[in-house]
Structures are given as C-alpha cells and as structure tokens.
C-alpha cells in the first residue's frame, strides 16, 4: 500500500459509506443511459425502411414460389421447375460461366496488377485510374463493344474477309455462344479483382522484395514465395465477389442476344416478363438468391479475415 492510498482510505467516512451503498447500481442505473436514446433505437428507422422495400418483397417472392397458379400451398412449382430441361441447362450454364469467368479474372487480374504494382512504368497511375472509371460503367457496354469487334459484320470478320478475299461471313462467330458471354464477363469483371489486389500490393514492403532478389531469388520465385502469400486474401475476396456478380449478371447476357445462352437471371426475366409465369420465376429467383447470398456470406467471411 502506498502512502497516498493509506491517506485516502481514512478519508471521509460518510462519503465512503454512501459509495458502498450505491455500488451495485453503478453499471446500469446511470443518467447517461436513461437520458439518452439507446443506440438500437437509431437503427430502427433505416431498418424499417429496408424491411418494407427489400426484405418484405423478398419474402413475398419466397411465398409466391410455393403458391402455384392452381392455388393452395405446395412445392409443386419447385418440382416442375427442377424437372424442366431449360432450368437445368440454365443452372449448368450459369455455374460454369461464373466459375470460368472468375478463374479468368483471377489469372488476368493478378498478372496485370503485378505489372502495375511491381514493374512500374510512367502512366501506371493513369492506368489504375482508368480501371476505376471502367468500374463505373455498366456491364452491357462491353457486349455492345464486342458486337462491333467480333460481330458477324464486325471489325475482326471484316479484316479477315478483306485479307483473304473470301466472300460471306468471317470465322469469328462465337459471340452468340457462351464463349462470347465468358469473354465479356472476364473483360468487365477483371478490374474488380485488380482493385483489391492493387490495394494489397501497396501494403507489401518493397524492401522485402529487394531482400529476396538480393538473396538470388528469381522474379517468378519472388512472386510465388513473397507476393502470392500476401495477395492470397485479396485474391480470395476479389474472386468470390466476382463469382457472385457473374452468377447475377444479366446485362451482358441480354445484350448478346443469343437464344441458346440462358442463365438463371435471364430465366427469371423471361419467365416473368415474357411468359408471365410468376411462380416459376419466383422459384428460379429463390434458387438464384440461395446460391448468391450463400456465396456472398462466404465472401464476407473471407474478406473480413483478409481485412479488406
């Protein structure tokens, strides 16, 4: 016990008695809490708004998905939709397109970000800013551009026919196939991978790289042993974000105008708007939500670990 503490303990006995008596009430019964509105009350208005315009409509979609046109409540719409070939095909197309585009974006985005960050060149900042601008444009512009480049009457085919002198259509006819969608998605979503990667790369201490190369490590080894481990969280976060966005992509597919490329969002649109089959549209929507929200939850977990 120190001197001052001893001196204080034999202080005003009345005060210390009063203090003793009030002790248990200290944590909850204080004016700050009773006078001020608790924090959760402030969360209620925006929550109510979100509930009204987003959560409640989503709940209605789920409800409608178990209400067939014939009335009553049953899982019949699900059985019908799952049995249909068009749904299975759309599901398959959606998943492989999304996975393929994600892999493409990861590889391409990693390579490009690597150059911007570690083999710097004049104008590299401008390129990074261009990528930001690119992100603010809608996805369907890419398909529109690809129409001019690879379309039946587009640039590439025109060049080919000019060069070979052959008449008729050129060799580039992939635009209306899933490959056209894949290319458009890779183009549009690669910047979404590059952005978190560039942020992660800027955190890497360049001294680390210099030490590694001074120890005789070749560039590829430095990438594998030093950069890749650091970039892994950002890659995982960017990759899962792109996967979800590809699963949900609509504009690119719509603009391709291909009848044989149907993805889940496209199926929702055509069931609801073209066939007016709302229960079926809602079933597909529920499946799409389940996949996307599930994956997005994963993304949140991954990115929180990555500190992104």
């Amino acid at each position: 016990m120190s001197r001052s503490a001893e001196r204080l303990s034999d202080g005003d006995p009345v005060v210390s008695a009063a203090v003793e008596g009030r002790e248990p009430a200290l944590r909850d019964d204080c004016p700050q809490r009773t006078r001020q509105v608790p924090a959760f009350v402030w969360a209620l208005p925006p929550l109510a708004l979100l509930g009204l315009v987003f959560l409640y409509p989503l709940a209605l979609v789920v409800r409608q998905s178990v209400r067939p046109d014939t009335g009553g409540t049953s899982l019949e719409p699900y059985a019908d939709v799952f049995a249909s070939a068009s749904f299975r095909e759309a599901l398959g197309t959606t998943v492989w397109l999304a996975v393929g585009a994600t892999v493409g974006c990861l590889v391409l985005g990693f390579a490009l970000a690597l150059v911007i960050a570690f083999v710097p060149f004049p104008g590299g900042k401008a390129v990074a800013r261009f990528i930001d601008v690119f992100l603010s444009f809608p996805s369907f512009l890419i398909t529109l551009a690809l129409l001019f480049i690879y379309g039946t009457k587009g640039m590439a085919n025109g060049l080919w026919t000019d060069a070979t002198g052959t008449a008729g259509d050129g060799p580039f006819q992939f635009l209306t196939t899933p490959w056209g969608v894949l290319i458009a998605e890779i183009t549009y979503f690669t910047p979404f991978v590059m952005r978190p990667l560039l942020a992660a790369f800027s955190q890497i201490d360049t001294a680390q790289l210099e030490v590694a190369s001074s120890l005789g490590a070749r560039p590829l080894r430095v990438v594998r042993k030093v950069i890749l481990p650091e970039a892994l969280p950002a890659l995982a976060a960017g990759g899962s974000l792109v996967l979800v966005m590809c699963l949900n992509e609509f504009g690119i597919v719509l603009f391709t105008g291909a009848k044989d490329v149907t993805t889940l969002p496209m199926l929702v649109y055509s069931k609801a708007m073209l066939e007016s089959d709302y229960p079926a549209a809602c079933v597909v929507a529920v499946v799409n939500i389940a996949i996307s929200v599930g994956l997005y939850g994963l993304y949140r977990v991954v990115s929180r670990r990555a500190g992104a």
Binding site: Q36, A39, F40, W42, A43, P45, L47, L49, L50, F54, P57, L58, L60, V61, Q64, L108, A111, I116, F118, V119, P120, F121, F130, F134, S136, F137, P138, F140, L141, I142, L144, A145, L146, F148, I149, M155, G158, L159, D162, T187, T190, P191, L209, S213, P219, L247, N248, F250, G251, L254, G257, P265, V268, A272, C282, A285, I289, S292, G297, R300
Partner: protein
C-alpha cells in the same frame, strides 16, 4: 523492383499492353468510333457522321437521358441518406465505448449483413420482388416512375452503406472524444465534427451510387413504365432492333453524363477534404 533488366522490363510492359489495350481500352474506343459511323463492315468505320448524336439528343432519347439523370439523382440521394443513417447506427451499436455489450455488437453485425445483402441478391430478382410486392394493394406502384427509383435506391443503398461504414471505421475516435471533452453533446458532435469529417466519403459514395444507377439495366427491365424509360433500356431497344450505331451514340452519351457527374462530385470532394 521485380524485373531488373531493361530487356525484361520492356518485355513485361509489352505483354501488359498487348493484354490491357485490346481488353479494356479497345471496347470503349470502339463504341466511340461506332457512334460516329455511318457504315462499318471493314477494319474501320466509314461514312463518318454526327447524325446518331443528333438523334440521341432529341425526342425520346433526350427524355431517356433526363429520366436516367433524375432516377440516378433520386436513388442516390435516398441511398445516401438511408445508407449513412444505417451506417452511423450500426457503428454506434458496434462501438459505443468499451462497455459495448456482446448483444449490441451482434445487432450491429446483423445490420451490416442486412444492408449489404442487396449486393448479393441478383438485380433481376430485386426487380421481380419489387414488382411482386408493389403490384397489389395496399401499395400499388406498378407502372410509375417511383417503382424504378425505388428499385435503384434499394440496389445502390448497399454500396452507400459499405463506403460510409468503411469511412466511419477509419474516422479517428479522438476527434469525437475531443469534442465531447469540450462539452459537445452527441448530436452536436455528429453535426459539427463527424459529418463534416465524413463529407469526402459521403460525396464519393454519392458519385458511386449515381454511376451505378445510371447504368442499371437488370431491375429496370422488369419495372420501367413506357413513360419512364431510362437510357440503358433505350440503348438495349436500339441495339435489339439493329440500330447499333444509334445504340453506340446513346452509350457514349451515357458514359459522358456519368463521367461528368463523377468529375463534378470529385471536385466537391477535393474542396471538402481537409487533409
């Protein structure tokens, strides 16, 4: 840093631009070129004309532009207000001194998840859900411009919420505490310290929301009434009926308008950033 030899560097840069230019720069250039083309069947467009622009800036196309601008303005203002409010409330739940209970922190995290969920739900499905919910009593919005603005607001609120949340997280609590120690009540701290310090992030969020809403197509396709046709729908309609050059001109108008607004917003931002 990574590649040291001059030759290696040039090789790397060559590969970079061989990939980068055709993939990212070419599409935008092609659209701009096509918007001036009267005819395009070879390597380059021919019969250059500004006709598509005169078509794109009058009548229904002009109306589509104003529709898009108004929709984006409305949606981003709603999103900014709701997103900022929710983000502030969630931050208060998650970090209210050291005495924050686990329950309140959990509530904050649930708020996070709910407000970010619209990012994960396909836009088409958001459109469908809004359509299903507001096509019948008690609230019938089907066929109005309100339903389009509403859907856009739902879709972009998540982005506003995310960027404002991140900004609040970066805000040094020392400012808030200094203000409180000087005798400022919480509302005064919010109005005089927190919001001014968040202003750069708020305008950035507004710009992001505006750009996203300008380009929104998926939910809009499910909802738009004939008298409220935003620009992306109009671009689709033009392309679908084969008028691709007009579509390109409209697309350039869309990009230009978006960039202009983003630029204006970034000007406000630099004026508002104090550090």
């Amino acid at each position: 840093m990574l590649v040291h030899s001059r030759k290696g560097k040039w090789a790397t840069w060559t590969v970079f631009f061989v990939l980068f230019l055709p993939l990212f720069a070419l599409p935008l250039l092609v659209i701009v070129a096509a918007s001036f083309a009267g005819h395009w069947s070879g390597a380059f467009p021919s019969d250059l004309t500004a006709e598509h622009y005169s078509a794109a800036t009058r009548g229904e196309s002009l109306q589509a532009l104003t529709t898009s601008l108004l929709t984006a303005l409305g949606a981003s203002l709603i999103a900014l207000a709701a997103g900022t409010w929710a983000a502030l409330a969630a931050a208060a739940l998650k970090r209210r001194g050291e005495g924050t209970s686990r329950l309140s922190r959990g509530c904050g995290r649930i708020l996070d998840a709910l407000f970010i969920m619209p990012v994960a739900v396909p836009s088409v499905v958001v459109g469908l859900a809004v359509l299903v919910a507001f096509s019948k009593p008690p609230v019938i919005l089907n066929g109005t411009s309100t339903i389009v603005v509403l859907a856009h607001a739902i879709l972009v609120t998540a982005f506003a919420y995310q960027s404002v949340s991140a900004a609040i997280l970066r805000l040094d609590p020392a400012y808030e505490q200094a203000a409180a120690s000087l005798g400022a009540r919480p509302a005064y701290v919010l109005w005089r310290v927190k919001l001014p310090l968040l202003l750069p992030s708020l305008t950035a969020a507004a710009g992001l929301c505006f750009a996203l809403s300008m380009g929104e197509l998926s939910a809009t396709m499910m909802l738009y009434p004939p008298d409220w046709t935003p620009l992306p729908v109009r671009i689709y309609a033009a392309t679908d009926r084969g008028a691709t050059f007009t579509g390109a001109a409209l697309a350039v108008v869309l990009m230009g308008a978006t960039l202009l607004v983003l630029f204006a917003v970034s000007r406000i931002r630099t004026r508002a950033s104090y550090r």
